[in-house]
Structure formats: C-alpha cells, structure tokens
C-alpha cells in the first residue's frame, strides 16, 4: 500500500470524508484550523456540506440538526472552543444522536495558549455537559491511529446513537507522519429509522427532543441511556501495551506523552531498568480491568502517570491500581511538552524509591 505524508489535522478531515461524513460545521481556532480548511475544499467536492458557522455554539447545533436527519456529521475545535460546544453535546447525548466531535487540545484553562496540552481529559471523559451521559473518547498517539480512529468514531457513534469524542493533543493535530489508507470493514449498523428526515410514508412522525418534563419519564429515559453506557463500557475499551514484559516501572500515558514515554522506556531498558508503557487508547471507557491486572503482577513495582496536564488521568490510574502499587506522577501543562529526559528521570526516581 502506498505511504503518504499527512499532517494530523488534514488526515483527520480526510478520514472523516472517507468514513462517509457529509456535513462539517466548524469555527476556526488554532491548532486545528487545517481541519475546517481541508473540509472547506474537499467536503463540497465529495458531495457534502461545509459551513463555517458564526460560532462554536452555532456549529455544534448545526451538527445536532444534521445528525437528527440521519446524516453523518462532525465538528472540530480546540479546548476553549470545545467548552462552548458542551451544551450541544449534552443535548445530542440526550436525543441519542450520533456525531463526531474532534478536540485538538491546547493549553488552558480559559483561552490558555496555542501549544499542545491535555487539560480537557476530565471534560471529555466525564461527560462535559450537564446530565448523566458519557461519550466514547478516542485518543490517538500517531497520525495513522488518528485516521483509523476517526473512521471508527463514526461507526461507534452510529452503533450506540451517541456522540463520540476524538481527543488529540495539539502535536497530533500539527505534526506530519507517513500513513496508509487501509481498506476497512465497516460495522454492521442498524438503519436510522429514528431520523427526522421527512415522513416518507411512515405511519408516525419521528420527533427528537431532550425535554422530558415528566420526572418519571425523564428517569426512565436516563436508565435507557445508562444501558447504552454499560454496553459501550463493555465493548469499546482499547489500549496498547509497550514493552510491558517483566516491566518493573509502568509508565501510563496517552497521546504525545506516550510517544515521549516510549523513548524514555527504551532508554531506561538500555540502562538495565525494566520500564514499559501502558497506553490507553480509549480514555472513556478506561481500561481499568487490564491496568488492575498489571498492578497485581509480582513484577510490577511502581506506576508513573505522565500527562500534559496536572493529574487528570491520574484519577483513573489510581482507581485501577487501587493502592496495590505506588503511583507517581509527572506532568507538564499550559502548552509545554515533557522532555524524554524528564520522564526518564521521574521513572528512575520512582523505580529507585521502591527498589
């Protein structure tokens, strides 16, 4: 297969088009402007619709409308812009509308910086908007994976009728890497008989709303959503294990820090320190069960959680490890990327501490 060089943001946009996305609505923000830029040229060429909305709120509500009509729709933004979209994501979860939301994270809180960060972990994995709902959160660590997960995101969204978040840090959005366009086998998906796409001879009108003013009806609806949440937790968990054979120090990291951690672990192995990397690919559902097994291994001595935030995924690592082994933390934030030497040093200190 032919390898090509793609920039992360462009690759995500092209992957969405190839996955059958026919509506893109967005509003520019660094560091993901190449997504709307690419869409503005290529979406119309592929028979779809591109709209640069007047705001993030408008964009997410256009996605809501397009998704309600049964069309594959997507929006993208970066951290502060994604905060603005939370209301729409909550409404779509309530209305059981499939859509893909891409967040190419930058430094925060607030407007923050334009350099890469991971401070939106809580927002993405805990729902983000109001109410009881979760969104499958996919975190690519390279451009090939960004492509594959973007395509997968549309299938997951359709299967569970739920918004899916692709959570990339700024570096994944901006860097270039070789990729191949694989032949993929789409999931068997149910027909969208719920879509508000015109009556077309049906004996009833499809009506989509998140307003359930009768409390028992609203509770019953929440319990239906909870069944889907449980299904997603059961079926959609993904992770990668890198050099974990006999690893004494296990670095847990996703996205860009997992690449840094891998180089650090390779360097440590050369120095005789058995280091490895556990890389969650889905941040929700989180691979608790596998991390718990690793924590129970005799060889595992200590965990080091590495993030481009100040200890958000750390909560999930602690939930999984549950004090079976010590958990240490190293993080940079606000747009700074951890250096290989810093991660190496932190891992070495953690390892010496428990040796």
């Amino acid at each position: 297969m032919k390898r090509e060089i793609w920039k992360g943001s462009e690759a995500i946009a092209e992957a969405a088009i190839r996955a059958g996305c026919r509506c893109f609505f967005g509003y520019p923000i660094t560091p993901q402007n190449e997504i709307p830029e690419y869409m503005s040229l290529h979406m119309p060429q592929s028979g779809g619709v591109f709209v640069q909305a007047e705001s993030e709120l408008a964009a997410i509500n256009m996605v809501y409308g397009a998704a309600a009509s049964g069309v594959r729709a997507m929006t993208s933004s970066s951290s502060p812009g994604v905060s603005l979209k939370q209301e729409g994501i909550s409404y779509m979860a309530a209305c059981q509308l499939p859509a893909v939301v891409v967040n190419v994270m930058r430094g925060g809180p607030g407007l923050g910086s334009i350099q890469p960060a991971q401070g939106d972990y809580f927002q993405a994995t805990r729902g983000g908007g109001n109410g009881d709902y979760r969104t499958v959160t996919l975190a690519p660590a390279n451009i090939q994976e960004a492509v594959d997960l973007t395509q997968e995101a549309f299938d997951i969204a359709d299967q569970y009728r739920n918004p899916v978040v692709l959570l990339a840090d700024g570096l994944i959005g901006q860097m270039m890497e070789p990729i191949v366009w694989k032949e993929r086998t789409p999931r068997q998906l149910p027909e969208k008989i719920w879509a508000a796409s015109g009556r077309r001879g049906r004996d009833h009108t499809n009506f989509i709303t998140s307003l359930l003013i009768d409390a028992p009806a609203c509770e019953a609806h929440n319990l239906e959503l909870a069944k889907k949440t449980a299904e997603m937790e059961k079926n959609e968990c993904r992770w990668e294990e890198i050099m974990l054979d006999g690893a004494e120090v296990v670095i847990v990291a996703y996205g860009t820090p997992s690449r840094v951690a891998q180089t650090a672990a390779e360097n440590l192995r050369k120095q005789g320190v058995k280091a490895g990397v556990f890389r969650p690919i889905t941040l929700w559902p989180y691979p608790y069960a596998r991390l718990k097994e690793i924590a129970a291994l005799d060889t595992t001595r200590v965990f080091l959680d590495v993030e481009m935030s100040l200890g958000q995924m750390l909560d999930d690592v602690n939930l999984a490890v549950a004090e079976r082994k010590p958990v240490r933390f190293y993080g940079r934030c606000g747009g700074s990327i951890p250096h290989v030497s810093e991660v190496e040093q932190a891992a070495l200190e953690a390892w010496k501490e428990v040796k």
């Binding site: 793609w6 190449e34 700024g170 570096l171 901006q174 070789p178």
Partner: protein, 224 residues
C-alpha cells in the same frame, strides 16, 4: 558542490505547499552556508503554522553563527501574523546571505507581497519545494498549480525547484528518486529548472548520480 554554488543568489526564498519540508530545508541551507563561512540570516516568515517553525531551532542556529530573524518571544506563540522589523536588515544588507523560510501554500506566501518592491531590487532566487509524498501536490499538474498560485500572490517569479521528497523517519532513497521524476515533470510543465535534490546524508551513496543537497534532520519531534 558547495551550498553557495548550488544557491548562488544573495536571497533564497523558500516556498511550497504545507508540509513539503520548507523549514527543514531552510534550516539546513542556513547552517550549510554558515559552515562555508558565509554571513547568514535565517528569516522565519511563517505566519500560518503554530508549531514546527524555524524559530524553534534558535539555539542551534545561533551557535552555528546564523542570525535568526523571527517574531520576538512575546509574540512567538501569539497566533498573530507578526513580522519583525529586522527583516528589513536581511533584505537590505548586501553583505548578508538571507534564507527566507515562508509559510505553506499561497496563503503563507502572501506575506512576501509586502516586501516585493524591495526583493525585486535584490539578487534573489525563489525556490519551490517538491515532495511527491504529499497527497495534495503529488501530481505535476497540482504542483504546478500551487507554484503558479504562489507566484500570483507574491508577484515574484519562481526560479528553481528543489526536490525534498521524504517520508519522515521512513524515507528511503527510492522516495528521493520518486521525487526526481515529479520534479522533472513539474519542470517540463512550468519551464522552471530543477536546482537539486535534498536528501539525508545517509542516502548519498545510493544517489551519486544526482545533484544532491545533503541534509540532517533538525526539526525533530519531541520523542525523537
């Protein structure tokens, strides 16, 4: 062949599609010219990319004696199209060799239009970087369209093509040869000559028949 002989003009303006490797080439050219004893300034004129800009290699360049002309640190990540006043020094000081690293596409090259009157008074070459592994410009037709569009927005004429075909860490000498063919096709379509082929020094033994500009990867990712 020396870098100064391959690129004999005082100002070298480096343009092309996004991600073809303009910054990598520019940093390497500035370092090569400095190593040959030239007084060199590298102007980071990229106002369209937030990351992977030549200003990120300030210490490497300065240690090699290259003067980096870039937006001041306070504006470096400000996400505004700010250009430093010292740029005029590079354009006007005829004792200095200037390498101008321009942002991608016609949108990035637009920054040059403002300096066109000055550039026309100087001894300059405007290069168009070719990378056959970039999907938007992998055909001669598309590549030529970008080249002409860059000329249109800048009001300057492209004087040379540089084949910089790579696949990041997975590049082989075959990729470079693939780019040779594309560069020649673009040359036939546009009449713009191929100046040379940029390739990592490790590929030199397999590419001895080509006019090569050997490079060392300087714009590495944080884990490389």
């Amino acid at each position: 062949m020396t870098a100064a002989a391959l690129f004999p003009h005082r100002l070298t303006i480096v343009t092309g599609h996004y991600g073809t490797g303009k910054t990598e080439f520019s940093v390497n050219l500035a370092l090569a010219l400095a190593a040959e004893g030239e007084r060199v300034s590298l102007a980071d004129m990229d106002i369209v990319n937030p990351y992977f800009r030549s200003r990120e290699r300030r210490s490497l360049l300065e240690e090699a004696g290259v003067r980096l002309v870039a937006a001041p640190q306070a504006l470096s990540d400000a996400d505004v199209p700010a250009l430093p006043a010292e740029l005029h020094a590079v354009l006007e000081d005829r004792m200095v060799r200037g390498v101008l690293d321009i942002g991608g596409d016609p949108s990035g090259a637009r920054v040059l239009a403002r300096y066109r009157p000055r550039i026309l008074k100087e001894d300059y070459q405007l290069l168009y970087i070719v990378n056959a592994n970039r999907p938007e410009v992998r055909t001669a037709k598309r590549s030529a369209e970008y080249l002409r569009a860059i000329e249109t927005v800048t009001g300057l004429v492209c004087t040379g093509l540089v084949n910089n075909t790579h696949l990041c860490g997975e590049t082989t000498s075959e990729d470079v040869r693939h780019g040779v063919n594309l560069a020649e096709e673009i040359s036939q379509a546009t009449g713009v000559p191929v100046i040379c082929h940029a390739a990592e020094a490790r590929f030199i033994p397999q590419l001895l028949d080509l006019a090569l500009f050997p490079i060392t990867i300087r714009m590495k990712k944080p884990w490389e």
